[in-house]
Every structure is written in structure tokens, then in C-alpha cells.
Amino acid sequence: MSETKKTDTAAKAAVPEQASAPDEREVLLKVENLTKHFPIKKGILRRQVGAVKAVDGIDFEVRKGETLGVVGESGCGKSTMGRVITRLQDPTGGKISFEGQDITRLSTGEMRPLRRDIQMIFQDPYGSLNPRHTIGSIVSAPFRLQGVEPEGGVKKEVQRLLELVGLSPEHYNRYPHEFSGGQRQRIGIARALALKPKLVVADEPVSALDVSIQAQVVNLMDDLQEELGLTYVIIAHDLSVVRHVSDRIAVMYLGKIVELADRNALYEAPMHPYTKALMSAVPVPDTTRRGQKSERILLRGDVPSPIAPPSGCRFHTRCWKATEICRTTEPQLVELKPGQRVACHHPENFADQAPQDTVLLSAAKEASELVPDTVLSGGSQDGTGSEADSRSEAESEAKSEAATGTSAEPEQEQEQEPGSKTEAVAESEAAPEPEAGSEGASDKEQASAAEESGSGAGSASGPEAEAAEPASSPEAAGDPEPVSGSDDAPKSPKPKGE
């Protein structure tokens, strides 16, 4: 098993790696403004009518020897990101640098030498191994493909690798079906490690495994990192696992990184409301915490479709803190604290980035119903008048879920938009107060307008709810563009920042 001879080697390798502060380490992989869109084609001529924006402009870097965890709900683009940075899929835009070399547009042939350095481990330990090949041939495949002859011969090296991942070298001639799920995942790891890669991207490496086995594999990956000085990008939906294995963590939402921070900073003081909600939703195996359910933030519905993501901050449709600026202006991923980058106008545990914008969006007010008071009071804003009863709250939650459910239809994602939009438009007309904000000019107008609307928010909630209703029906929303009706168009303060 993996634990056998771990301690001595770990001691050697781990000390210098762990000692140096993460920031000073050399950057191994750098990703800038990476996008990956999958076109949607329709009609006789198969014209492109839209795109699934799986990854939509993300920046991060991975430093040598660290583990970057990537978390997010299904459909947030984390797996796509993994396949793009390993160049298993071609990016639509942006730049990927590996050890300073731009690998964004390298051809398959040009990538080949780099394949030695970048390896991937997949989720499904059943599907990723060819059932007709022996373990020996599976694990030695990278040697053959790269034309590498390891010292002492391929077989010896493969057996060493099998031993390394806690399998017996005698397993060399067996077939995948003779192994259990955990063992197969070990085989997958052995294969990934064959060529001593510098970077290993693991996509949900343990989510298909039983709890006890999951721990074995997590430990194995830990050990191997220490032993071989590996750098990991671990993609997972299980926040507990990610917390356990990662040095830094990126939280993704709808193709964007909303927060990127050191592990401890992130888990102790998450800044992005989404991060906070995500973490609060994880059930904890501790009955003593029962009854403290008040800490839990329930998010409304599912992640909107990545075909037509919401404008501005993509989380604003589900966020209890969302204000007008969130709807119009996309927050940038900014390093607010050392080692903690957040894309939020109203971060938790930190100074508000748009303090002048205090009026909650209607959706936010509904959302805040599901957020415990402790959380709300801890934030920089307090939820204004939540007069809606719990019944309507459940209803609205469900509505947004319904709209997002049918991901095949891009039109439906905007259901909350027209309602809140008209409100904003109306207000901006009424109050042309040129109060300067911290953001750009276009935001200023929006922000002030929204702020002004705050006073009327309570009374506006009635018509607003009505307006939301027709829009949420599938037939009504034919236009994927989140603009209001044409009669409002001349006066509409269309956000330019998008």
C-alpha cells in the first residue's frame, strides 16, 4: 500500500517544498483570459445561433509544487477548464503558458513533447482504462507514445510505478476488470505519473469511489506529491475533499472564477457570497452542529445556463446581496487581501466595493429570505423590508429553478431580467442625480439610479413580481438579449461594460 515507505521519502521532499511561501514559488502554468465556447448551430444552414460559454474568461496561475483546487457546481465549466489547460480541447480564446511557453495554439504534434509534462487523471476509473489491455500495457503506453526508454527497461519502470501507487508489480499482466474501483484509479494515477510529469490535472479523481477508498486515494496523491514534487490541479465538486488536498482554491461559477484564495483564507473567511453559500451547504458529520441550521445559506435554484449567462455579476440572480451594480457591471477578480482574489462588488468579510449601491435587487430580497440572519447581519448590508411570506419565497425559488432547468433552451435564462430591468429604467429616469461612484461612468448612472430606487423598493415589489411572471414562461422569452421592451429602448441605460 501507499503508506508503506512514505515517511522517509516524504520527509526529504516535503520540507523544502512546504517551507517556501506559495507566492515565491515559480509559476508553472499561467492562464490568462481563457475562454472555451461550444457553438450551438441551428437552422438549415447550421448557422451558429449561440454558444455554451463553458469557460468564459478566467485567469489564474499554478505554482510549482502546489495544489490548486477548483470547485463549483456541475455545469460551472470546471471540467472543461481542466481539459482546455491540458490542451485535450482547444481553447476559444485567451492564453495558456506552461513554464513560460505559450501553449495555447500548439498543434498536436507540437504538444507531444509537452504531454510528458502535463498529465490528466479522470473521474471514471472504469471508463478511462481500455478493458482489452493489460495493466502493463496501459501504464507503459505513455512510454511507447513518447518513445521514451526508461532506465532499466519499460517493464521494470512500470512495475516500479505500480508499486509506487500501492499495487503489486505482479499485477502487470492483469486486466482492468480484475481490479476494484480504487485500484483502477491507482492504475490511472500510475499511468499519469509514468513520465514524471510536472503538472497533473485531476478531474474528480475520487468522486466515484467509496468513502474509505476515497481517503486512500487522497492520501496516495498527497504522498506522491511530496515524493515526486508534483503540481496538481484538482477539480472536484466536493468541497471537503478540495479543502483537504489544496493549497489554493479557485471557486468557479458559470465559467468564471469568482474567488481564488489560499485554502485557509478561503475557508475561514470566504469573501464571495457564492463561496460562502457553497460552503455553508456542505453537510457536516457532526450532530452537535444540528440545530445550528441558521448558518446555512440556501441558494435559490440551480446555476443558470451558460448559453446566456446573466449580465453583470453572474451570481446576481441568486445572490442575497445583489444590487443594481451587480446586474449591470461585471466585477473584476481583484486581490482584495494578499492571496485572496475576489470578483464581487459587495464581498463578505471585507469592505464593500460599491458602498454607494445599497438597494437590493428584488431577487436579492427574495434570496435573503433563505439566508440566516446571522449571515445577513455579518455582512455590510442588511436586508431591507422582507415582507414576502415564506410561501412566495419558496415559489420564487422554484421559479428560477424551473427556468434554469431546461438548459437546452437559451431563451429562458433571462426570466428575472425584464422585471427588474423595467424597474431600474423607470427609476433612472426619475432620478438623474449625478453622484459619482468608484466605478466607471456607465456604472455611475446605474448605481445612482438603483440607489434612488431603494426608497420605492417596497412598493415596487408588487408590479415587479407580476412582471416576472410572464417572462418566466418558456414561450414568452424569445429574445436571448436581456434588454427591455422596445418602447423603453431610447431611454434605457444599456450597460456598456458587458
Binding site: A215, T287, D302, E395, A398, A402
Partner: protein
């Protein structure tokens, strides 16, 4: 079937007329195969009261799903059905189900006991509208018109929080999101107001945020209808969140059973320790390594002799005379309503838990 001797005496009485709403006594479910007999469930007893939630915890292959199917009488149906050997007693609301005719059990199914499954997408028929599937479930047990049944379906969809239920009732499962589908599934299960709800990993396939919603919903509905719930899961976090009682299964048998508080605060079985140690926890800073259970789950055909957990148990050698390998431990009362099947002495368990296990969690 009858040659299987009674090995478990954990429960107070084996006489008829059970006091609990659902009572399972010495349940054995064996599947003869070409390779040998798969003893999926091998002598299991438990009971659930109305309004209470029992969580059955275990890894894949521990027999937890088979238990639930046995209660529902489902594994007796279909191609595999005729090969099942089943013994023991299942008392639901005063009726014994193991000996009942398939049709009797069928009539109870869906009406008095209902089930929701792990993957709502595959668990709903892809070709039929969600509403029709609910209507079908309602009309099997109620002689009502289609129109009435449909009204009921809309009502149920509304109750589980599906927006515009009158519209969504005509949607197909694939048009629903994962969370919505599970809601619809719950609506379908609850359409006949069953008194027992079995939820088999109801949130495993869902994202955490949606999982929280669904758990909330189940909790609320239970409160409203006062039904008994059996929650089958491998996620101890879910268990801690929702269960009143916990039953830990390993190799087709119960290794530990008790109230949730007891089991989480003073777990008595090394396997339970292993499970707790294997789980990375979000609520605590642990830079230490996880402490996994070594080895692989046992084969249900050749269940290890003695304590089935002994090949993986780090403490198997502590009890004298090699009993771990030779004698199968019975459930013993180890605390208030807390049972455990382990050869370790109470002192050893206490010592190991407080000194070795608890600090690492």
C-alpha cells in the same frame, strides 16, 4: 431459507405484534449465483417510528440498498426476482410483508410505503411526462378520473416547490433540472400520502446547494405528514443533518446502531471510526492525513469469518484468542439505545476512541 439460523438478538422481542411502525426482524436476503450465494443482507433488525428518520449508512455493497428494496418488496420482481432467498420478518403497520403475497405487497407499495432514488433522471421514465407519471402512481391506488388525478399531481408538484406546476406537469423529466427532478420524484412518492418513505441516496447525484434544498424539503414534508423516513446514504454529513437514528452496515450486517448523537459523539465500532476518519471535513482545519480504512470492502459471497471487518480492522488483534477471526460478534448494548457488534472490550474502545481516533478527526 429456513436453515438460516437466527444469529442476531439485538432487538428486544421476536414475538409478533410489533410496537414500532416499521419493524424488520432478522432479515436475510440472499442471491444464489453461479459463483456462490451473495449474502447481501444477512440477519438485520431495526425499527422506525412514525415521524422519525433512520439513516442506514454503509459503503457500496454493504447491503443498504438491498435492505430498502426488501422492505419495498421490489427485489422479488423481475428477472432476478425468482432467485432471491429471503427470510425474516418485515412488519409494516401491523402487516407482515415477507410472507405476504406479491400482490398484497404491491398494493401497499406506493400507498403505504414509497421510495425515492438516487438519480432522478434515470429513475423517471424518459418517455412520459412528469405529470403522467405522478398520475399513474396516484391512479393505481385511487379509483379516480384522470382529471382528478391530474389535479392531485399539480397539487403535489406545487407542494414540493415546483413553480407553475400546472405547466410543468406536462414537462418531460429531461426538461427539469436535477433539483427539480428530485422534487418531482418526491412529489410522485408522496402522492398517496405514504406513511413510510425510503430515500435511497436522494442527494448523492446533486450539487451541494441543491442537496441542501432537497434535505430541507424532505425534513419539512416529514414534519408535515409525520411519516417514517429511512434515509440510505454513504454521506455521514447528510446523516448528521437529518437522522434521528443511525444504522451502520458492513458486509450485509449491522455493525453499529444508535441515536445519531450517540453514534457521532461516541462511535463504538472500528468501522464507524474508519468512516469518520476517511472523510475530509470542511468544518475543521486538518492538515493531517486522512486515516482511511485499509483494504477493500468484503465480497458478499465469501464474507470473512468471525467479524466481517477483521481483515481491515487495525484493532482485530487486541481481543484475545483470535476471536475476531473466528467468532462473529453480536450486537451488544453499549449505551443508551446504542448497539455495537465488536469484540473489543468497552475499555479498549473507550481508550482507542479518545486517544487515537477523536483527536485526528
Amino acid at each position: 431459507m429456513t436453515e438460516l439460523s437466527k444469529t442476531e438478538t439485538g432487538d428486544e422481542a421476536t414475538a409478533k405484534a410489533p410496537s414500532a411502525f416499521l419493524e424488520v426482524r432478522d432479515l436475510k436476503v440472499h442471491f444464489p449465483t453461479d459463483d456462490g450465494i451473495v449474502k447481501s443482507v444477512d440477519g438485520l433488525s431495526f425499527s422506525v417510528e412514525k415521524g422519525k428518520t433512520l439513516a442506514i449508512v454503509g459503503e457500496s455493497g454493504s447491503g443498504k440498498s438491498v435492505t430498502s428494496l426488501a422492505v419495498m418488496g421490489l427485489h422479488r420482481l423481475g428477472a432476478r426476482g425468482k432467485n432471491v432467498r429471503m427470510s425474516g420478518e418485515i412488519w409494516l403497520n401491523g402487516k407482515e410483508l415477507v410472507g405476504a403475497s406479491p400482490d398484497e405487497v404491491r398494493r401497499l407499495r406506493g400507498r403505504e410505503m414509497a421510495m425515492i432514488f438516487q438519480d432522478p433522471l434515470s429513475a423517471m421514465h424518459p418517455y412520459y411526462k412528469v405529470g403522467d407519471q405522478i398520475v399513474e402512481a396516484y391512479r393505481v391506488h385511487h379509483k379516480v378520473s384522470k382529471k382528478e388525478a391530474r389535479k392531485r399531481a399539480v397539487e403535489m408538484l406545487d407542494r414540493v416547490g415546483i413553480p407553475e406546476p400546472a405547466k410543468r406537469v406536462d414537462g418531460y423529466p429531461h426538461e427539469f433540472s436535477g433539483g427539480m427532478r428530485q422534487r418531482a420524484m418526491i412529489a410522485m412518492a408522496l402522492v398517496n400520502n405514504p406513511e413510510l418513505l425510503i430515500a435511497d441516496e436522494p442527494t448523492t447525484a446533486l450539487d451541494v446547494t441543491v442537496q441542501a434544498q432537497i434535505l430541507d424539503l424532505i425534513r419539512d414534508l416529514q414534519k408535515e405528514f409525520g411519516s417514517a423516513v429511512i434515509m440510505i446514504t454513504h454521506d455521514l454529513g447528510v446523516v448528521a443533518e437529518i437522522a434521528d437514528d443511525v444504522l451502520v452496515m458492513y458486509g450485509g450486517r449491522c455493525v453499529e446502531r444508535g441515536t445519531a448523537t450517540e453514534v457521532f459523539e461516541k462511535p463504538q465500532h472500528p468501522y464507524t471510526w474508519g468512516l469518520l476518519g476517511s472523510m475530509p471535513r470542511i468544518d475543521r482545519e486538518t492538515s493531517e492525513r486522512l486515516t482511511p480504512v485499509k483494504g477493500q470492502p468484503p465480497s458478499l459471497i465469501n464474507v470473512p469469518s468471525g467479524c466481517a471487518f477483521h481483515p481491515r480492522c487495525p484493532y482485530a488483534d487486541i481481543p484475545a484468542d483470535n476471536v475476531s477471526r473466528t467468532v462473529r460478534p453480536e450486537l451488544e448494548l453499549v449505551g443508551a439505545g446504542h448497539w455495537s457488534a465488536c469484540h473489543l472490550s468497552a475499555e479498549d474502545r473507550e481508550r482507542i476512541w479518545t486517544e487515537e481516533i477523536a483527536p485526528k478527526l
